[in-house]
């Protein structure tokens, strides 16, 4: 059988930096082929070459045994290769159908759009993948998860023979992931070849027929999920054994640092109570929409709550703004680092000190530049951010290093309590391990750490105790070394 898509010995360099070297890769009709590797391993470059964004330096791309040479994403799509990129490419102010068929609307000879036909086409498309989305609704009114599905519908509407998905689950809740997977299964049935790029190995093993591993621009191997496991794949990805994926748990003191009692803000959350001890990592698990982020923001003073109390070291706090929270030693590492946490167009140095500027200003309010430079260099060293040039703009850093900078920013405020919301979303395995270690180091220094994560293994591996949220309520507080994933899941959904 010939593969639908085959890459033969592709190479690509940017300047003197070699990103891909002699990479070969094939995907067959009806196959889900996962592509994994650390950030910087060359996955995105490989996809960009196939999708027509970059030109390869050497090698061949074969579609149904015919060599092709897509010049741009549009052309690649016309050929039957559709890439669903990580960042959504939909326009929120237009309807679903308009977004899907932009530039391909059914029109009269004069170019006037047949609206009914357009919406019917969209409906037929959704029927094909077995979902129910209104073609006439504005895209912006749907959640990110649904938008992801609309994006996929758009991709296959080009009669895609090959569908490439780059981190399609990074913004999805568990139930949305299930929905996505059933769509993938449906497309598989219809003979579409699917390339699935993901950091989440659990998902990869669940959905993939084969897994290709890239490391430092080279193809290290192709494995079959049924006779492999997560550890082996991680080993292939990093070229070394990571040892235990999660840092050893620490010694938690009995001293309660933060106490949340009966916190309510209907309809978002109701009667939330839990406590955080010095030196503890408290995990908060739950589905997206269970109220985890909302509670964290309320504790941080970013949003109001209507009832209940938050006590820090026994003293009741009445925080009206994040500024007051930071002054009390509570910092919040945001879920969406690009939107809320970092100033992307500014330098790493500006970012690192941005929430602790009070410490670096003199009586007149002027900045102490020398002290700021010292602090940022210290933070870069401590958090192992690369490259070690604090005058670089944030945009030039990889996702993992951006996340580490965000952590450094929080730490430079000398917190007592750190709330980390999805601290490892979208970062590669290597950076993940470092972030986990950094969080544990903080706890060991006596800081109370709250970790909110949608990845169950992460919550369980990292936390001393786990609070499970369900529909705005605390459904369980689990303690001990051997909390089972299934238990947490049960409390999260039932």
């Amino acid at each position: 059988m010939t593969p639908v898509l085959e890459i033969r010995r592709a190479s690509k360099s940017f300047g003197s930096h070699r990103v891909l070297h002699d990479v070969s890769f094939a995907v067959y009709a009806g196959e889900v082929h996962a592509l994994v590797g650390e950030n910087g391993a060359g996955k995105s470059t490989l996809m960009n070459i196939i999708g027509g964004i970059h030109r390869r330096d050497a090698g061949e791309i074969m579609l149904n045994a015919e060599p092709i040479d897509p010049l741009d994403p549009w052309q690649a799509r016309q050929l039957g290769i559709s890439v669903v990129f990580q960042e959504l490419s939909l326009t929120p102010n237009m309807t679903v159908a308009q977004n899907i068929f932009v530039r391909r609307e059914p029109t009269s000879a004069l170019g006037l759009i047949h609206w009914r036909q357009l919406n019917d086409d969209a409906r037929a498309l959704f029927e094909r993948i077995g979902i129910d989305i209104s073609p006439t609704e504005l895209v912006g009114n749907y959640s990110v998860g649904i938008q992801q599905i609309i994006e996929i519908a758009k991709a296959i509407s080009f009669d895609a023979k090959v569908l490439i998905m780059d981190e399609p689950t990074s913004a999805l809740s568990e139930s949305e992931v299930d929905r996505l997977f059933s769509i993938i299964a449906e497309l598989k049935q219809q003979g579409v070849a699917i390339v699935f790029i993901s950091h989440k190995l659990g998902e990869v093993l669940r959905i993939a027929d084969r897994v290709s591993v890239l490391r430092d621009g080279e193809m290290v191997g192709v494995v079959n999920p049924s006779d492999s496991n997560q550890d082996e794949i991680i080993h292939m990805m990093v070229g070394r054994s990571l040892g235990d994926l999660y840092p050893a748990k620490g010694v938690v003191s009995d001293e309660v640092l933060l106490e949340v009692e009966g916190l309510s803000h209907p309809p978002l959350f109701h009667d939330i109570s839990f406590s955080l001890r010095r030196g503890e990592i408290l995990g908060i698990a739950g589905l997206i929409g269970a109220g985890r982020t909302e509670v964290a923001r309320a504790i941080f003073g970013a949003d109001r709550y209507s009832r209940g109390s938050v006590k820090l070291a026994g003293i009741k706090l009445d925080l009206k703004s994040p500024r007051q929270a930071i002054a009390h030693g509570i910092v919040y590492l945001t879920e969406d680092r690009k939107v809320m946490g970092l100033f992307l167009s500014m330098t790493m140095r500006d970012n690192i000190v941005s929430s602790s500027l009070a410490r670096f200003t003199d009586a007149l309010g002027l900045l102490k530049h020398r002290a700021i430079a010292d602090e940022s260099l210290r933070a870069i060293k401590q958090n192992d951010i690369r490259p070690r040039d604090d005058l670089l703009s944030m945009t030039s850093l990889s996702g993992g290093n951006q996340q580490k900078s965000l952590l450094a920013k929080c730490l430079s405020a000398n917190p007592k309590v750190l709330i980390a919301d999805e601290p490892t979303r979208g970062v590669d395995v290597g950076a993940k391990v470092k972030i986990h270690q950094a969080l544990r180091d903080l706890a060991n220094r006596g800081i109370g750490v709250i970790v909110i994560s949608s990845e169950l293994p992460e919550v369980l591996g990292l936390s001393d105790r786990v609070v499970v949220f369900r529909e705005g309520h605390v459904s369980a507080v689990l303690d001990g070394d051997n909390i089972a994933q299934a238990d947490v899941m049960r409390y999260a959904v039932q």
């Binding site: 994403p73 052309q75 102010n93 530039r103």
Partner: protein
């Protein structure tokens, strides 16, 4: 029709109203309502307001800005801005006048002038595309240059004495005895209907909403955004030239003093009409109502004898009110 429905459902159920109509419909409906209420109030105090001679005055003031607002609407939908229209408008009035005085045939003079307007639009797009500067800066630079050029080529005094037949465009019309329906009204109406229709229904024209809504997404969908922006700014420039030709014909004269602060009035009108300066939203109907509203306000103040300084206060307040209304509607809808 919509006004009636909005009124009815407002009394019964506010939430239903939000769901039943799109944001655009609500904003346009609200604006139309404001125009009607305003007209009634002014009419009750100054019965001359809706008299035929005064309506004629309003039309004369309304037309050029309405035509320029057509182009500005598309520019703003693509998340751009075009300040240079206030330079192109007097510039094209002067150019068409100078060409006529030099003996050029009327159709040729008009065509050259429209081409010049489009060419200046192309320069706007070129600067903004090539040097990646915000259109605000590119078109501001062109506006300033044109203001200077306009004075230089006229020596600061008006150009006049055009051939008799040129007056047809802006002065003649269908005579109803007490009321003259000028031909220029038909030019505006034809342009507004055509552009409004295309912007709603034509594949190519609709791309402006995609470019303004998410430029990256438009690019990924294979839109040549830069080339499209050439089209948009050339259209805006050409429409400003149409307005310039009409005004030259109307007054049988061209002066560099035409169109003072016109760019801001037009932008204000388009935003009051529901366009979003962040791009992706706007409509011809809304913009036309916006221009009408502003024209009415200025007219009412000029007539009333209240200090005309108050008119800017009212227009500014209206702009704020419409933006606030848009925001409130958006938020209510999101909840």
């Amino acid at each position: 029709m919509h006004d009636m429905q909005i009124l009815k459902s407002k009394q019964s159920d506010g939430a239903g109203l939000l769901q039943r109509f799109s944001l655009e419909t609500l904003q346009i409906g609200g604006l139309a309502l404001a125009i009607v209420v305003f007209a009634i109030i002014v009419q009750m105090n100054f019965p001359v307001f809706l008299s035929l001679p005064n309506i004629n005055v309003m039309i004369v003031n309304f037309l050029p800005e309405a035509i320029i607002a057509l182009g500005m609407t598309i520019v703003i939908i693509t998340a751009g801005i075009d300040l240079s229209v206030a330079g192109i408008y007097p510039f094209s009035a002067i150019i068409v006048g100078l060409l006529l005085l030099a003996g050029a045939p009327i159709p040729l003079a008009i065509i050259i002038t429209l081409a010049a307007g489009a060419f200046i639009g192309a320069i706007n797009a070129f600067i903004s595309n090539t040097f990646r500067v915000h259109p605000f800066i590119a078109t501001l630079a062109i506006l300033l240059i044109l203001r200077g050029v306009n004075i230089i080529i006229t020596g600061g005094s008006p150009v006049s004495g055009f051939p008799e037949t040129f007056a047809i465009v802006g002065q003649r019309g269908i005579d109803f005895g007490t009321f003259l329906l000028r031909y220029s009204v038909f030019i505006w109406l034809a342009l507004a209907l055509l552009i409004g229709y295309l912007l709603r229904n034509h594949r190519f024209w609709r791309l402006s909403y995609f470019i303004g809504g998410n430029r990256r997404s438009a690019r990924m969908s294979g839109v040549n955004v830069e080339r499209y922006l050439y089209f948009v700014y050339m259209l805006s420039g050409a429409l400003a030239a149409v307005a310039g030709v009409i005004v030259a014909s109307q007054f049988n004269a061209a002066s560099n003093s035409y169109g003072q602060n016109l760019e801001l009035r037009v932008i204000t009108a388009v935003v009051i009409g529901g366009a979003d300066l962040n791009g992706g939203a706007g409509s011809v109907l809304g913009s036309m109502l916006g221009v009408l509203f502003i024209a009415m306000i200025y007219n009412a103040f000029a007539m009333s004898g209240i200090s005309t300084y108050w008119q800017d206060v009212v227009v500014g307040a209206m702009l704020l009110a419409s933006i606030l209304m848009g925001e409130v509607l958006k938020r209510r809808r999101a909840n």
